[in-house]
Amino acid sequence: MTKPGEFYQRDRNWHPPAVTPTYKTSVARSPQYSMISLEQSASEITGPKFGHSDIDPMDRDMIHNYAASGESAIGERIIVHGRVLDENGRPVPNTLVEAWQANAGGRYRHKKDTYLAPIDPNFGGCGRTLTDENGYYFFRTVKPGAYPWRNWVNDWRPAHIHLSIFGTSFSQRLITQCYFEGDPLIAKCPIVNTIPDQAARGQLIAALDMNATIPLDTIAYKFDIVLRGRRSTLFENRMEGN
C-alpha cells in the first residue's frame, strides 16, 4: 500500500498572525522575520501516538475527576462533544484531546492565578480523552466563568475551554479555545479578535446542542475540530522519491 502524502499548507490568513497589538503580550513574543516554509519530511508527517493505557476513562469527567468522594464541582453542568475531522472531512480516530479551564467563577487552579473568585475544592479544571474510531470525543464539565485579565484595564475573557489536539502528525499539532454560543464577551475579546476572519472566529464557538442534552441533568454544546488535511498519493508524492 502506498503511503499518503504531505499535509495541506496551513492557511496563515485563517489563523491569527503572530503580532496582534491589541493582545498586548504578543508584541514582544512574536518573531519579526517570516517563517521559513518547509516541504514536509518524515520529521513533520510523523507524531506521537497515545493509547488507552496512557489515560484513565475518568479523565474526561471534570465534574468528578478532582472531586472528593460523593462530591461534584459547582456550576452549570455541561457536556462538550464533537468530532475531530481533517480538512477532507475524514474522522481522526484515536487522537488525544486535552482540555483545561477555569471553574464556574472564572478562577483557575493555578498558583499564578490570584483572581479573587474562590477555588472550587472539588474542581481541578483539566481533562483528556481519546477520540473513538469515528473521531468522536466528549467531556463532561462545568461551564467556565468569564474572568478579568491585565490587557486593557477592563478586559474580560469570554467563557472558554482550552483544547489541545495532536492528530496523526506533528504538523497537525494544534492548541485552540472553545467559546460558547451567545456569549456577548466573544465580540469584545482581543484574543478572539486576533483572528482576522469573522467566519474563522465563528468556527471557535460551540453551539448549544439540545439533542445531546441529558434532560434534568446536563446541557450539551457541540464543538467540532478540524485538523489539516492530507494529500492522497496521486502522481506526485515526492516525499521520498524523485
Partner: protein, 206 residues
C-alpha cells in the same frame, strides 16, 4: 459558476494562555490529578545511543526569559527512526520520541533528558542531520512556533542538511545549532530560543 470545493477549514489556533500547565502539566500548576502525566520520559530505559540533556531559555523581544512557556519535542531514535507506523524501522520498547517540558516559573530555564537522535532520511533521498523538532506555545503566542535543534558537533552533517540549506541567510542557520558541553559527567546541549530581535531563532512553517 464553478463547482464548490468541499474542503473544511482548519480550526483556527488560539494562544495557550498563561495557565497551559493546568491542562498539560498539572503537576507544575501545583496539583496532582492524573496517574500518568504525559511526555515526561522521551527515550525510555531501553533506548540505545548517547544520553544527552537539552536545555535553554526562551527569550522575548525585550531580552527577558519567558517563564510561562510549554515546549514539546519530537525526535527519532539513535538509528534515525520515528516511533510512528509510517516510518520504516523499529524503535526500542518504551521509546516515544515525544516530550513535554515547561519553563521554571522563577528562572525560565527548561530542559529535558533524552538520547541523541540519528540522521533521518529527508525528501528525495537527502539525509537530514540529526535534529530535534520543537514546538513552543505560551501566552502571547497565537500559533505554536516550530523550530529545530541541531547539534554543533555534527558540523559536517549540518553543512549538508537540506532544511538548514533552505535558509538563505547563512548567519541565521546558527540560531538552530545547540552547543555541546559536559557538566558533572553529563552531556548537555544549550539551546536558547530568541523569539524576536537580534539573533532571532528561525521558525518554520511546517
Amino acid at each position: 459558476m464553478v463547482q464548490k470545493l468541499e474542503y473544511l477549514k482548519e480550526t483556527p489556533s488560539q494562544t495557550a494562555g498563561p495557565y497551559v500547565h493546568i491542562g498539560l502539566a498539572p503537576g507544575a500548576a501545583g496539583f496532582d490529578i492524573y496517574k500518568n502525566e504525559l511526555g515526561r520520559d522521551i527515550a525510555g530505559p531501553n533506548a540505545k545511543g548517547e544520553r544527552i540533556r537539552v536545555e535553554g531559555v526562551v527569550i522575548d523581544g525585550t531580552g527577558s526569559p519567558i517563564k510561562d512557556v510549554m515546549l514539546e519535542t519530537w525526535q527519532a531514535n539513535s538509528d534515525g527512526v520515528y516511533a510512528h507506523p509510517e516510518h520504516d524501522g523499529e524503535v526500542e520498547a518504551g521509546f516515544s520520541g515525544w516530550g513535554r517540558v515547561i519553563t521554571d516559573f522563577d528562572t525560565g530555564e527548561w530542559g529535558f533528558d533524552t538520547v541523541k537522535p540519528g540522521a533521518v532520511m529527508g525528501r528525495n533521498g537527502q539525509r537530514m542531520a540529526p535534529h530535534i523538532t520543537l514546538w513552543i506555545v505560551a501566552r502571547g503566542i497565537n500559533v505554536g512556533l516550530n523550530t529545530r535543534a541541531y547539534f554543533d558537533d555534527e558540523a559536517e552533517a549540518n553543512a549538508a542538511d537540506p532544511v538548514l540549506n533552505v535558509i538563505e541567510w547563512e548567519r541565521r542557520r546558527a540560531t538552530l545549532i545547540a552547543k555541546r558541553s559536559e557538566r558533572d559527567g553529563q552531556i548537555v546541549y544549550r539551546f536558547d530560543i530568541k523569539l524576536q530581535g537580534e539573533d532571532e531563532t528561525v521558525f518554520f512553517d511546517i
